[in-house]
Chain length 340, copies 2
């Protein structure tokens, strides 16, 4: 679909060349006041608006950003982050193009798709850093921001949460409450957050001089941050002769699954077992008992990713972002530390 009225129509009706119209459109000074006035009138009359696509073709700037997704939109993390993007997008002049990747095509190419759509920059969501498509993007000249994938390049940076501190806060909280047997249930080693959280857990063990007990670690490779996996892992832990008194989970959903396993086993979460989650999704404040968790600032992640992307586009020398958005310990009831 093309514009109903083009710059040609405006020019014709005013009786000037399209060059002149273009000049008033772009605020050039060399056009007489009366001509400018007439042009503006016709523009209003015709409800004309310049075609940003055609403009992009000649200017080399499309005023559009691309976004790639692995998981779907209906995922608290994705939708939360995109919520943050939306606000930054408005009034920025940029539109956001969801680049739908055909799952059919085996050698589908991210970079090609970007060029084909003329996007000025791209946001990439939660892919593995080994993905050859990402490697290509990183090496390219296209400004790109990765969320939760620690890839960098001349024009590529990333945004993620400060997962390390998050895990530390969780462990410190438990430690202060007297826990010495702190288990860990998490997922997906091959994605940044999974890796970092696990490493932080190990580091935390040393930090608080806690013993390394491999039975207390459930982080199978193929794991995903789901309720079901949390449930299964917790069941295994509960079957241990000497079971942990507390568990740090890689996600709220896993924590919720773990809570279910405890309740099923007749344990009271918050008294017999302390559990802390990660994310602080809506659900976390609605469980019984309410979940103590590490909050990720979804909106800020989204906001920063767009801000940095635009900044890189505007300024060729802007350094690619490497930012860790602070996490926060939200104390509720699942560690038994409140009156309940």
């Amino acid at each position: 679909v093309t514009s109903l009225s083009s710059i040609n129509d405006v020019a014709r009706l005013v009786g000037v060349s399209i060059t002149t119209v273009s000049k008033v459109l772009n605020g050039y000074p060399d056009v007489s006041p009366k001509t400018r006035k007439k042009v503006l009138e016709i523009i209003n009359e015709l409800k004309f608006q310049p075609n940003v696509v055609a403009r992009g073709l000649v200017k080399g700037r499309s005023w559009s950003l691309g976004i790639f997704l692995t998981t779907s939109f209906d995922h608290p993390f994705v939708s939360g982050v995109m919520g943050g993007m939306k606000e930054t997008l408005e009034n920025s002049g940029y539109d956001l193009i969801y680049l739908a990747q055909g799952s059919k095509d085996p050698d589908y190419d991210f970079l090609k798709h970007c060029h084909s759509r003329n996007v000025d920059g791209v946001v990439v969501f939660g892919f593995s850093r080994e993905d050859k498509n990402l490697m290509e993007l990183v090496k390219s000249e296209l400004p790109s921001v990765f969320i939760d994938t620690n890839l960098t390049g001349k024009r590529a940076g990333y945004i993620t949460s400060d997962n390390r501190s998050g895990i530390f806060m969780a462990m410190e909280h438990l430690y202060r409450l007297g826990h010495r047997k702190i288990a860990f249930i998490s997922s997906m080693q091959w994605l940044l957050p999974g890796r970092v959280r696990f490493e932080a857990y190990l580091e935390g063990l040393r930090k608080f001089s806690l013993p390394y007990v491999s039975d207390y670690m459930e982080i199978r490779e193929h794991y995903i941050f789901t309720k079901e996996n949390g449930y299964e892992s917790m069941r295994r832990m509960l079957a241990l002769k000497e079971r942990p008194t507390s568990v740090v989970c890689g996600s709220d959903l896993m924590a919720i699954g773990a809570m279910a396993a405890c309740q099923e086993a007749g344990l009271k979460v918050g008294r017999d077992m302390a559990i802390v989650g990660f994310d602080d999704i809506e659900l976390a404040s609605h469980t019984v008992p309410k979940l103590t968790t590490i909050r990720q600032d979804f909106k800020l992640i989204g906001k920063k990713s767009i801000e940095h992307l635009i900044s890189m586009i505007k300024n060729p020398h802007a350094p690619p972002p490497i930012v860790e958005v602070p996490t926060q310990l939200i104390i509720r009831e699942s560690c038994g530390d409140t009156k309940n």
Copy 2:
């Protein structure tokens, strides 16, 4: 950003005109096998991919769809529906452009934005049907699909849930359980789902020969489907001399708020008060007691909206959709009908 290599580069390297390259690109028969072969080779070598934007300029088809949002991405309804869109989008050849509306500009124009971006069609999410922007869209030639707004035009249709049946199912369920005092807490008369649900409630009253008690209806105009509003409304109801024994809520969040109000008043939901929600968001199955609710098929709504939009684009005579996606009663615990 423009393509690294253009059709010109290919032509030059092969030693033919760009016309010939274009022909192999578009599968024209009139090109010799060897020429075609050479062209294909260079295309691979250069990792060339035609610029879909430039192509759109000349063909009048951009292979892109627009989407307007009132609320943000981080809303169970929006993200759920978009999840359904995603799957249909992949392999469809279309990309989805989030059209960010500058909140600054008072006379920002949807249609203009669409033309400016050359989108082939547009999905509009949850605006009021009185919105002048929507009126303009409906009257235009641009294929458009409205979600939860019953607007139609020559090239415009809508998709929504079968809210009416949903409310009926809820009321019938309560009626069968013996309830005769069925209250209604809902919101936003000016949006389609709000209106339909309320009308269905009134109709249900007649259907089941229940008395019209205005005290049992909380549907203030400015209301939004939030937990807080559900909470407030329930409190008011509980203060009634003769209070209802059951409540149908316009959303799960409202139902959750209502549950909180009941518990605060010392009532046991499921025994002293039956509550049914609407939506079946993730949260609904995690409340205590678990929420009985009317499920909307988010994904199907998303799927259908894209399918119909594409079909309208491909076929100028395709009738605009007017579809109501079935809803479903999900019986859990909040009406006291299960062992708990």
